[in-house]
Structure formats: structure tokens, C-alpha cells
Amino acid sequence: MLNIEISQIKIIAAKEFRDRIRNRWVIAVSLIFTAFALAIAYFGSAQQGEVGLRNIEVTIASLVSLVIYLIPLIALILGYDAIVGERERGSLDLLLSMPLTRLELILGKFLGLSAALACATLVGFGLVGLLLAYQIDLNALYHYIGFMVSTILLGMVFLSLAVMVSVIAKDRARASGGAISVWFLFVLVYDLILLGLLVLSGGSFGEEFFPLLLLLNPADIFRILNIFSMEDIKVFYGLATVFPASLSNPWLLSSMMLAWIIMPLTVAFWRFK
């Protein structure tokens, strides 16, 4: 029933990617990432009264706090228009009259935009990584690469959500509203609600399933994935006290991220008529 032609997906993806290179989206976002990463790497320890390129783990922890706000926002802005934009401009009918299935269109759009976001992430943070390289040991390099990979995964999760919003929304205005709501929900509201519940219940709320609730938010998974792997840092976050080591397996966490990528795309396909 699902006959997928990879070549059609590639054509759509290549067009999306080329569009973002051409309209300088990739270079602009790369520059934003570089600027932020540099500033954080340089001024990150200012609270301790020092500036300069210092501890890589502290740098990554600061970058995580930044990325957790920035990447979902950028991914949602990048992707909310993907389908609804074609529909509203009137180019969707022509596209679908081609030998192209709706699933191929969704996957092509998603992968092309993912490639653009991944490219910006690798260039933007990679440049800073190179700058830090002189003081990076192998272990730190491993963390930094892990940070970049998980950043790309986080971006893909929110791109997937954006494509879903883009399929469901009736018009672009509603899609942008939906995208912003998704950002508020996962980046701001979700943790506040959990925190509120914890405070209200005097800390006794759901000791067993609290960690599982964290896994239901891709932004939290991203934080855990990056923070938990660094011994020095997780103490600051107090994460070790609420999050059991058994669930902090990077493969499990990455699988959760993958699930978060696949689920919205599945919904998008199901709703795309």
C-alpha cells in the first residue's frame, strides 16, 4: 500500500535545501549560532569573575540552556509554512498532480528542511568547536559532538511538529499561531506545570513517574541527554536527584527523540488528505 519512491523524496528535499542555501537562511542561522556560542564560550564564566575560553563542560551546559529555547523556535519558524504555504499560494495542486504521493512530499519537505537546519547547526557550532579545540581533550570532544548531534535531533523533533502543524492548519496565520503554541507548551509551560505540581505536593508528587513525564517532553530529553552525561554538571542541576540513572541511557534517550520525530510526521501523513 505504501509505495515510496526515494527519488521523489530526494527531489523535494533537494529543492527545500537549495532554497534555504539560496535565500541565505543557512548562512544567517549559522552566524547566529556562532555568535551566541562564541559569546557563551567567552563570557560563560563571567559569574565566577572570569572571562575567556574556559571549561568546555560549563560551555556546553550554557549552550544547552540557549539551544533549548532557540532551536525549537528556529525549527518551528522554518517548518510551519511547509505544506500550508504551498496550499495557500496555490502551488500544492500542481505538485500533487505530479507522480508524487503525499507521504513523499511530507518526507521530502521534512528531510530538506532538516538538512538545512543540520547544516546551520554544524557550521555555527562547529566553528566554535574548532576554536575550542586547542583545549579540548577527547572526552570533551565527545561531549561537544554529542551536543551537536542532539541539537540536530532536537531541531528535527520540532521540525516534525512544525510539519504536522502545517498539514493540520487551515491557513498560514493559524499555522504560525499553532507553531508558537507548540513552542510555549514544550519549552516554557510544560516544565512550569511539572514544577508547580512538585511544589504543591511538597515534593512528593509522582516520584516514580516524574522521570517518565520528563521523557514526554523532547526539550527535557535534550537537556537530560546533554547534562546527564557530564558528571561535573549534573550536580549543578540537581538532576541526579530526580532522574534515575536507569533511564539516562543515551541510546534510550535518543530513541525517545526519534520517536518524537516519527510521531508528528505520522500524524501529518494521516491528516494530509
Binding site: N3, I11, K15, R22, L94, L96, P99, K273
Partner: protein, 302 residues
């Protein structure tokens, strides 16, 4: 039925409670050019989109070359179908050539065919210009070029000449004629009825989602039985004309100076002409005007 390329069988389409297509049955033959006419909201676009498998019908069956347009097997057939949507929209950031190449790659045809196609449509000079700088007419021509990618066997053209100047319209129909000669089946809609009436083999008139009439232009004319208009110039008085036509059943007789306009049914045409002939040298000119497609169409719409 090897000759039936497109078969629409008892198709209904509801948008929520609204009935957009009401029990449509229509067969389009191989190599014919069929004009689809109807007012806005008559169901033309909906029918078009259903025939292309873009929206599902509520009930009924649509087959192209014996393949259901709703099934997965229709994908292969799409390669041999060209579609020009009404008010075609392209990606503003691509050049004309890139646009064509993008669709060519999706259709799986050779990219080398794109430039010759642009030349054929008179867009070679703008091949490397971005589409956002194209005029309405240029976009329409690019749309037509896109529809011709991969040598389609079936063409769906929705208002194809909108925005084209008369010269371009003539070129467009010349190309269409060539394709027709090669056995390409064409389904075309147009608001400019006088423009398509000489260029289609059959017309389908849609009204409130129903197929209201179907046939050649001549058949439709005869079926609605609209009166002909006979314009007469004489050197004698118009009273004389009125006198010789005494006894013939006329729809209307309009007398102005030396000219007379006679409206009569088709079966009285020869009788009127014979009587006019009796005026001899006083008869200066006679022009018989068939009802136009607009008249026919309005006759059906009424």
C-alpha cells in the same frame, strides 16, 4: 472500451452538506478535445480535481485508461498526464528553466527537453530569469510548458489562455492542434466561449454540479433551438421587406433605416432566404448569424 480514455461514472461530491457534483457521468474519448463550460460554482474545478485524483469523490468511480484515479496505480499514469491549473503559481525564487527542471525531475523526464520546450513557448529569452519577474502571460506560458513535459497523452487545461495576448492565444491553439493531431486527449475549460467553440470537438455544459448538456457545438445549438439572426441590407423600403415576409413565423423583426434584422427558427431559414431573394436587385447584402456559444450557453443556463 479501448477508445474511452476518461470515464466518470455516477460521481457525487459533497463538501460537508454542500453538493458540489451531483451524479456526473461523462466519457471522454481518445484524441478528442472536450470543452468544459459552466458558471463559477458549477462544479468544473471540483470535477477537474477529482479527475486528477487530487480530491476524492464522495461516491462513484473515475477511471483514466481503465485505472482508478484514487488508487496507488494511478501514480504511473500521472507521468503521461499534463495539468495546467487555473491561475498557475510557481516558486518565485526559481528561474523559468529551474522551474521546468524541477517538475521534469518529478515526472521522471529528461532534463534536456526543458530548454527546447521553453523555446517552443517563446520563453527562451527568459529561461534564466527568476519567475518573480515574469508577466502574467509569461507565467501562463511557463505553466503550459510544464503541462507539456514528458509528452503527455492526456492534458487537463484549466482556463489556459487567461492573461495571454491574442497572438499568444493563437500560438497556444496551434500547439494544441498539433497535439490533437498526435492523438493527445485534451480537457479544457474556458470562460471565453467564443474562443473555444471552434477548437473543441465536444462541449460539456455543467450546471449546479450536473452535466446539463453534452455534444458538439452544432448539436448543442440545435438542441437549444435558439433563433438565427438574418441581417439584411436593401435599397428598397423596409416595409417592402416586411411585406414579403408576411406569413412566415418569425421570432422578431427589427427595422432600422435600410437594414432589417430577422430572428427566426432554423427550420424557417431557407423560406426566409427564398423570399428575400424575390427582392431581386434591391437586396444588397444578407448575413446569417448562428447563435454564439454564449447564446447557447445562456440558453442552457436559463
Amino acid at each position: 472500451m479501448k477508445n474511452n480514455v476518461i470515464e466518470v461514472k455516477n460521481v457525487f461530491k459533497y463538501y460537508g452538506e454542500v453538493l458540489a457534483v451531483d451524479g456526473m457521468t461523462l466519457t471522454i474519448h481518445k484524441g478528442e478535445t472536450l470543452g468544459l463550460i459552466g458558471h463559477n460554482g458549477a462544479g468544473k474545478s471540483t470535477l477537474f480535481k477529482m479527475m486528477l485524483g487530487l480530491i476524492p469523490q464522495t461516491s462513484g468511480e473515475i477511471n483514466i485508461n481503465g485505472t482508478s484515479v484514487n488508487g496507488g496505480a494511478f501514480r504511473e499514469l500521472r507521468r503521461s498526464i499534463g495539468y495546467l491549473p487555473e491561475n498557475v503559481v510557481f516558486y518565485e525564487n526559481l528561474t523559468g528553466l529551474e522551474t521546468l527542471q524541477f517538475f521534469a525531475s518529478l515526472k521522471g523526464c529528461i532534463l534536456n527537453t526543458c530548454l527546447p520546450l521553453l523555446e517552443k513557448l517563446g520563453l527562451a529569452h527568459a529561461a534564466h530569469r527568476r519567475v518573480d519577474g515574469y508577466s502574467k502571460g509569461m507565467r501562463q506560458r511557463l505553466g503550459f510548458a510544464q503541462a507539456l513535459l514528458g509528452k503527455p497523452r492526456i492534458l487537463f487545461l484549466d482556463e489556459p489562455t487567461t492573461g495571454l495576448d491574442p497572438e499568444a492565444i493563437r500560438e497556444f491553439y496551434t500547439i494544441l492542434q498539433e497535439l490533437n493531431a498526435q492523438g493527445v486527449t485534451v480537457v479544457i475549460t474556458s470562460h471565453i466561449l467564443s474562443e473555444i467553440q471552434e477548437r473543441v470537438q465536444r462541449l460539456a455544459v455543467l450546471k449546479s454540479g450536473k452535466l446539463h448538456a453534452l455534444g458538439t457545438v452544432q448539436e448543442l445549438r440545435e438542441a437549444v433551438d435558439l433563433p438565427l439572426a438574418i441581417h439584411v441590407q436593401t435599397s428598397c423600403s423596409t416595409d417592402a421587406v416586411e411585406a414579403i415576409l408576411q406569413g412566415v413565423a418569425l421570432e422578431a423583426l427589427i427595422l432600422t433605416g435600410n437594414s432589417v434584422v430577422i430572428h427566426c427558427q432554423r427550420n424557417h431559414k431557407m423560406e426566409v432566404l427564398r423570399r428575400l431573394g424575390s427582392l431581386g436587385d434591391a437586396l444588397l447584402d444578407v448575413v446569417v448569424k448562428e447563435p454564439t456559444l454564449e447564446d447557447v450557453f445562456l440558453g442552457y443556463a436559463a
